[in-house]
Symmetry: C2
Subunit: 568 residues, 2 copies
Amino acid sequence: MRWSNTFIPTLKEDPQDAEAISHKLMVRAGLIRRLTAGAYIYLPMGYRALRKAEEIVREEMNAGGGAELFMPALQPPELWKKTGRYDDMGDVMIKYTDRHGKEIALGPTHEEVVTDLVSREVRSYKDIPLILYQIQTKFRDEVRPRFGVVRSCEFIMKDAYSFDADVEAMEASYKKMYDAYCRIFKRCGVPYVAVEADPGLMGGTVSHEFMVPSKMGEDRIIICSQCGYAASTEVAGASSKDDRKKDPEKPKNIEEVSTPGLSTAMDVSKFLKVDPRDLIKTLIYIADDEPIAVLVRGDHEANETKIKNKLSAKTLELADEEKVKEVTGGDMGFSGPVDLGIRIYGDDSVKNMVNAVAGANKKDTHLVNVNPGKDFKVHQWMDARIITETDPCPKCGSDIELKQAIEIGHTFKLGTKYSEPLNAKFLDEKGKECLIIMGCYGIGINRILASLIETSCDKDGIIWPVSIAPCEVVVIPVKREDEDLFSEAERVYEELCEAGVDVILDDRKKTIGVKFKDADLIGFPGQVIIGSKGLKEGKVEVKSRATGENSFVDKDKVVESVKAILGD
Amino acid sequence: MRWSNTFIPTLKEDPQDAEAISHKLMVRAGLIRRLTAGAYIYLPMGYRALRKAEEIVREEMNAGGGAELFMPALQPPELWKKTGRYDDMGDVMIKYTDRHGKEIALGPTHEEVVTDLVSREVRSYKDIPLILYQIQTKFRDEVRPRFGVVRSCEFIMKDAYSFDADVEAMEASYKKMYDAYCRIFKRCGVPYVAVEADPGLMGGTVSHEFMVPSKMGEDRIIICSQCGYAASTEVAGASSKDDRKKDPEKPKNIEEVSTPGLSTAMDVSKFLKVDPRDLIKTLIYIADDEPIAVLVRGDHEANETKIKNKLSAKTLELADEEKVKEVTGGDMGFSGPVDLGIRIYGDDSVKNMVNAVAGANKKDTHLVNVNPGKDFKVHQWMDARIITETDPCPKCGSDIELKQAIEIGHTFKLGTKYSEPLNAKFLDEKGKECLIIMGCYGIGINRILASLIETSCDKDGIIWPVSIAPCEVVVIPVKREDEDLFSEAERVYEELCEAGVDVILDDRKKTIGVKFKDADLIGFPGQVIIGSKGLKEGKVEVKSRATGENSFVDKDKVVESVKAILGD
């Protein structure tokens, strides 16, 4: 490809609306442009990288036994009503009414459509196992689209669905997909971690998230460097080890203290000069329409995923100010477990607290010397908090690390969550009708690019792996005007093309400074620089973007040297 | 690929909702399934064919100098308001309001988005010429989706846009794209005709449609077998040759005749026993809010495209019954040019009519002996009718053929229709700001498949060209249970795979009858049949789907024979 035939609008400055480094670099390197909130144009260089990632995904899905199909974005909402997700999705699912007055949804995902398809076409145990997948555009009305293509309203997803006769067979399909995911992310050069995760809205029991640690990630994971255990903080078990001081105080009697305007744990602990560990935070939730209280220690955060799962609640939301007042009698920030007339759930770490501080359910007032068991009863003790960096590894007890991460893939064991409401059945060998056991598997293709860039760049720009680089090599003639030099550049370019290298010739009439800057910014893995000084000695410069190493090689050995840099 | 690893639900019966043969065959052969009105799932075999067509389109667009990008389906309506097409598109453009109250459109096409992009990024004459294209999903709320994937609400289009400094350069880009289109359709095996066409809503002056003659086509074209001229009936010039009888009658005086309830030309001509050629049809239109009359001969049809263009009208619609009564004083079907108080436009063929029959603008009454010039005046004579099969070729005067056809591609010379309202300018070599001259170029990828099947099938199923067949060859073991025979089939399959042939192994436990029927129905170009009788002599059967020719070849010469059938 010749630079003049394509469209690479690079920028010197970071775009103003970008926070994430990947977002900045994708815009500056001319990979993407914003069209409207959460919708990006992939420019030629960005789209080349995207398509290479897609092709790797396709190859590995095929190798894992998947068959590719292509389902519409336009979906009948009736299918979503059958599974109950029409309401669950809420405003995230985009809908419109067509000219005939029919409501149509834009697919945020395709479990409903593919399960309905299979329910109509699969009859017998001979028709399964079956793994269907697609690489297709999804639509979601995000509350806050951000980080460029990381959280957008329109994005390209690889979604796969497995259909099996029993749980054992589903496990085998799950493993095939899990392994395919590992191969995909490895080939794309993305430093991923597979972690245990919460299935959430998707349903099912077990799921794994494929995460790329990064400061801009919206998710948090823990990693144990000892045993290798990794999990999202949503599911990682927090320690319930006895946390009492070795020489505990004796329980004293409750006293009221005035804490005017101090509604946060931090404020209260400062004011009363007590460790946040000695505070009980009392959170009022509405769980499936019933108000409940959840207690966690002052230095901990409540984990809504765990609470929701343990309570088997369909919905769990923090109560608003009005509701808190109605339920507790006090203002928000002054709730406490003593004399509270609703069910109380306590985090394990609260159980053995002695002489703690808690809200008094009364304006501008807290209680001191509050003791669980003595002063209030808990309906159920449970792991109700988010794991912290000071917790031990839930598997081996060693130290753990807490990291921000970007989710690039998610695999789910679904069971019959979709096959049951959508009636996806098969006749087994004995002619008995059985529900199909499903799994589903998603990869955000856009996020492969963003997370790669997030973790592989320097001050000059992007550092692509060869596998998904927009082009593998750029050929740069130092002077475009020097016809002899340029024709030598063209010769090298042609030679590399013929050798099967994906190469771009920078044939622009720009200064060499601009060309070098753009080459580094876009981040082609290899650079071949044709200068008059080298040419006099029959040599050209071959340089690696990743290592910065360069060498002058005989002009008839360019292909060899370039292939060495590319690792061929 | 092994049949058992993919998903090919073939059907014995035609689907009930299908009219077109391509629609029937695509469903029966397991290529597509309907999800909802105008939205189809591409199953694995259909998607393979689609992707092969896409790849041919991509290769030829690249060869024509195009750079591929990918624009979002979600578009800001503001851009459409700037070009005036927000209103023009009407209900065809799907819109919804997002959670922040903002209206978002689903792109029915991308002129606005790409021109806006270029207006922001292109600065100088050095940045152009530029041809940008994408292969992307479009959304249109069709009044009547039909013929399967031919007219659907969601479809895959290749849309390209050229940006040039002047008309001459635009003509060069246009030619590149026109030539690329010819190569694309030829490689896909589609029997296309390139015809002159009306630009319609897209704007610009000149356009070409790429049409595939087919009974189910929604468009009509004329073809001259002598000079090769081809055009859509919307634009083909109708003859204005003097059509009078050699010995014309003398004009007589008008008389009223009673024609109770006879409101069509056919009814009136039968009742009065006159040739429809001697009737004047008077059509009342509303052109940009002004009522006008258009006269055509009783045996002709008015051509609204021509009328609209000649009048430079933005809108042209037939008047409703009420309006006809208001304007003419008579009922619909009884309008005539005599004493009509609105502008009259007459088709050239009406000019020399003598003693014609026309409506009397009065209930149940017609006039006879009506003579143009004498009895009424015409504001303008023009070519206002649709060409008929009895017309001569507008270019060479020879006989023409009229055909139904499917539009699979359309190229437009747009000029500044989009660059002007969207402010897409560049600085020329003298530093002067100039508008960019544009062209645009669309291909309906889905329609390549449908039109191919429409023109290449027999009673048994589809006959694919090698280029876009879902698989090139199917290997059929006659008995799946016979392990020796099956392992020989596997060997042949592996050998073909290794030779780079795109092959599927029918490893299903089905009767040989079912396998043969499915192979013919899906229409793989080559079939390799492994039977025990042949194997005893060391031979396998190699068969061409297109010709039906078969031969028994030595089992170590399969690759050679298969490649011969595939034309390699």
